[in-house]
Structure formats: C-alpha cells, structure tokens
Amino acid sequence: MAVHQVPHRQLRLAVIGTLAGLFSGLFGVGGGSVIVPLLMLWLGYEERRATATSLAAIVFIAAFAASVQGIYGNVHLLDAVLIGVPAVVGVLVGTWIAQRLHGRVVSLLFAALLIASAVELVLG
C-alpha cells in the first residue's frame, strides 16, 4: 500500500506529532485539524483513514496534555466528566444524523455560529 512506501516516514510522523502536540497543548483541542491534512499531504492517506488514525493519536495527545495541565492545577475534573461522557452519546447521535442528511446548510450555519462565538469570546 502506498501509505507505507513514503520516504522518511518516521521523520514525517515525528514532525506531525510534534506540531499536533504543540497545537493541542496550546489551544486545548485534540489536534486533528493539524494531523488529518498533514497525513493526507505528507503520507498519502485518504481522508477516512487519516481521520481514524488521527482520533487514535488524539487519545494519547489529549490525555497527556490534560495531565500536564493537571500539574498546573487548571483541570476542572467534574466538568470534564460531565462534558466528556455525554459528548460520546452526542457524537453517536451526530454521526447518525450526518448519515441521513446532507449537511451543507448545517455546516454553513455552524461556521456562522463559530464566528459569532469567536466575536463573543473576544468582546464578552
């Protein structure tokens, strides 16, 4: 498979991992928006495989970054559980809906919501 024949694979993975870790630690996100496009661009992954592999890497990245944040005393444990566990159910529901409707309008509405929230964050 083409994915396994790219030169300097380990080096490329190291660069992607480091960038994703920095991004994740800095912003409190998983880092998928760094990993997925780079796996596709540098290692010839197709989108679905890139997304799935990225999810698995994020388990390590987020758990470790959360532990380091824990040392700084920033983690609100109860809130994390109250958000993370229902979110699992939410993702299953969202995936189920996504398979049944074309999300064009939803995507654009959500993009607008993101921008509105960004403005609210900065001004509010």
Partner: protein
C-alpha cells in the same frame, strides 16, 4: 452541572455531525456558559476529549480504518510538543490566549465553509476504499 451536560451533548452532536473536533466547541462552551477562565477551559476540554476520541477510535478500528502503528508513533512523538504547548499556554495571559483561540475558531469556520462549498467536500480524491462510501463509517 446542567450547563456542562448541555455543552457536552451539544458539542458531541455537532462534532459527530460535521466531523470537527470536540475541543473547538468545548473550550468556548466552558468559557461562555460555565464561566471558566481560558486556561481552565482549555485544560478541562483536553480531558473531556479523551473519552470521545477513545470511543471514536474503537469504532473506527472495528472498520479497519486505524493505522495502529502510525497512530501509536504519532501519539508518542507528540508528547514533547504537547508539554511545550501546555507550558506556552500557561505562559500567556488569559486574554492573549483567548484572542488566539478566537482566531483559531474563525480559521475552523473558514475551513468548514471551504469544505462545504467544494462540492460537499467529503469525498476523498484518489485512494478511497473500493465499494464503500465515505458516510458508512462516520
């Protein structure tokens, strides 16, 4: 408590629906609805992401979509970067970090718009697996 549950469920649904990560929703949710500071919101979001990513990984692995070796390599080689990122975040003021995060949200929004307008955008070019659609494993 109700607020956190709502942020979790809503964030999860949108993440599953659009294929964006949970963090970009959890962080503003924690700041705007639960009144956490930017640092606390980011730290708490990181922990909340773990179960979501874990369940997603198990599902995707069942479909054979996870390149396990690469995922493990990526995960292990990200640790130094992650520690550096957290240190950097904690070196910044809440305001600076919040403004940078708002910039990130706008970028994600633009990426989403571009992906949507690119002819639905969710059909990978080239090496897709024969005989299966993208939607069936998402």
């Amino acid at each position: 408590m109700i607020g956190a549950l709502a942020v979790g469920i809503a964030g999860g649904i949108v993440a599953g629906l659009l294929g964006v990560g949970g963090g970009v929703l959890f962080v503003p949710g924690l700041v705007l609805f639960l009144g956490l500071g930017q640092h606390q919101a980011e730290a708490t979001s990181l922990l909340a992401i773990v179960p979501v990513a874990l369940v997603g990984t198990v599902r995707q692995d069942r479909y054979g979509n996870v390149e396990r070796r690469d995922a493990l390599t990526l995960g292990l080689l990200s640790l130094a970067g992650a520690a550096g990122g957290v240190a950097l975040a904690n070196a910044l003021s809440g305001t600076a970090l919040r403004d940078a995060f708002a910039g990130l949200m706008v970028l994600v929004a633009l990426q989403l718009v571009r992906r949507t307008l690119d002819g639905d955008g969710d059909v990978p070019s080239g090496a897709s697996v024969a005989g299966s659609s993208v939607e069936d494993t998402r």
